[in-house]
Amino acid sequence: MEVLPQLIVNGLLLGGAFALISIGLTLVFGIVRVVNFAHGELFMAGLFGAWLLSSKVGLTPYLAAVPLVVILFAAGAAMQRFIIQPLMDADPHIQIFATVGVGTALINLALILFGADIRTSELPWAREPVRFAGLSVARGFLVAFAVSMVATAALVLFLKRTHLGRAIRAVAQNRNAAPLMGIDVPRIYIITFGIGSACVGLAAAVLSPLFPAFPTVGTYFALTAFVIVVLGGMGSLEGAVAGALIIGLVDSLAGYYVAPDLKEVVYFLIFLLILVLKPAGLFGVRGSE
């Protein structure tokens, strides 16, 4: 088995899976202009949700995507409506504290409900390898990659082609003019936050057969998503996809050629380099989303 092609395929698949989480984060930042530090914890909640639905209700993790998308949409919309919106005119620091607070509360809630153990959504099928051209990949990663890419494409089409999607972009580009068009800006924020969280719900469902749930699992995913979003340009959907694929490759290659323990160091070197050399990110044009 050739090592390099295998590493590249692994990296791209991992990156594809990360794309959906990152898109949720970048969308909320681009439109609502709030950095959601509870994003990873919403993902953690999604993983526990998938585990509960598969182990207690008997839904296969992939089917759990349907209720999880709905539930996380509602949770994100409620978070915007009842926690962020009342603070919308406050100092941005206050909003950051609020999202950090929500994240911390979710971690503690998970500790109370599930303890610190890891919970795995059982779906052996997802871990079986598919072999082609001398390469081998877990089926679950192919599914996660495909779902992530299809969902991203659907989201882009929604934003470009529908009245609501156009209104969402209008708010990002000129939030003073949007209300003059008859756009209810607070409602757009609520819907956008809902969509951003729903992305994470879908990601959690398709990744649940591959990644076990535990209360602090969100931290790792959120940190990676932040690196991806900064790399791609905060607020840029295309940037989030490209950034995710790049970080997936870095993860895979650095894990092999450098050292598994040091791959996060490599991410953060990239993160710092981008901040220094091209602060707007690879695809960043402020407001162009």
């Binding site: 156009r166 209104a167 209008a170 000129n174 003019a177 209300p179 008859g182 756009i183």
Partner: protein, 236 residues
């Protein structure tokens, strides 16, 4: 009955009161203008009508109904649209998408293709630019798009805030031609313009605003002859 009436309205930002006891009427079919120096509060009046600023006291009536508490989308739904100062386009969207957003309110969506044809008939230059980013157009073209976007909602009352600001004299002339055409098409107009000579000559009525208070009102031509107005705003 007035299409729009501000009745003893006071309004401002934070602790600052900008408008004091302002009463303004706009009847259907009228062209009303507000004349005043920089900082007098003209934009604040239009923003108050649009629902972006809430009256602190007094009332805002549309068709005789108190709408003081309504938010901007509800005012748009009632047929009142503001073409804001400084154009305020959506820069990374095509001109076409900007126009479509002008007809975002549900009542206008169904008729977008027909309405776009009607509006573009007035703006041949805009038609040529439909697929370009709005942000890439010249200032004059952007102002045309802003007006066309305002017309997309088929408003009963179209408000203009300084449509000629920052434009070259040639372009200013074109902008006024467009305003004349909007008026000729029967749309009720409320216009604020530094360049008061043209607006007063087409206005059925005008108000003079000084430090947030209405100090005078008359027909446009009468204000144009008024010695105080001539001295203060035309420099003659």
């Amino acid at each position: 009955m007035s299409l729009l009436r501000l009745e003893n309205v006071s309004a401002g930002y934070g602790a600052v009161e900008v408008l004091s006891d302002v009463t303004i009427d706009v009847a259907p079919g009228e062209v009303v203008t507000i004349v005043g120096a920089n900082g007098a509060g003209k934009t604040t009046i239009l923003r108050t009508i649009a629902g972006l600023v809430r009256p602190r006291s007094g009332r805002k009536l549309i068709d005789g109904r108190d709408v003081s508490a309504l938010k901007p989308p509800a005012i748009v739904d009632l047929g009142i649209t503001l073409v804001p100062e400084g154009r305020q386009l959506f820069p990374f969207m095509s001109v076409r998408e900007n126009l479509m957003l002008g007809a975002y309110k549900p009542a206008a969506r169904a008729a977008i293709p027909e309405r776009m044809e009607e509006v573009l008939a007035l703006f041949p230059r805009v038609r040529e630019r439909l697929d370009q980013y709005a942000g890439s157009l010249s200032g004059g073209e952007q102002q045309m798009v802003a007006i066309a976007r305002g017309m997309m909602a088929n408003p009963r009352l179209l408000m203009f805030d300084e449509p000629s600001l920052g434009l070259a004299p040639m372009i200013v002339k074109q902008v006024f031609e467009i305003v004349d055409r909007v008026v000729a098409a029967g749309t009720t107009v409320l216009i604020v313009e530094q360049n008061i000579y043209h607006t007063l000559s087409i206005a059925t009525r005008g108000y003079v605003l000084e430090n947030g208070r209405i100090v005078m009102q008359d027909t446009g031509p009468a204000l144009l002859r008024d010695p105080h107005v001539r001295r203060a705003y035309l420099g003659v």
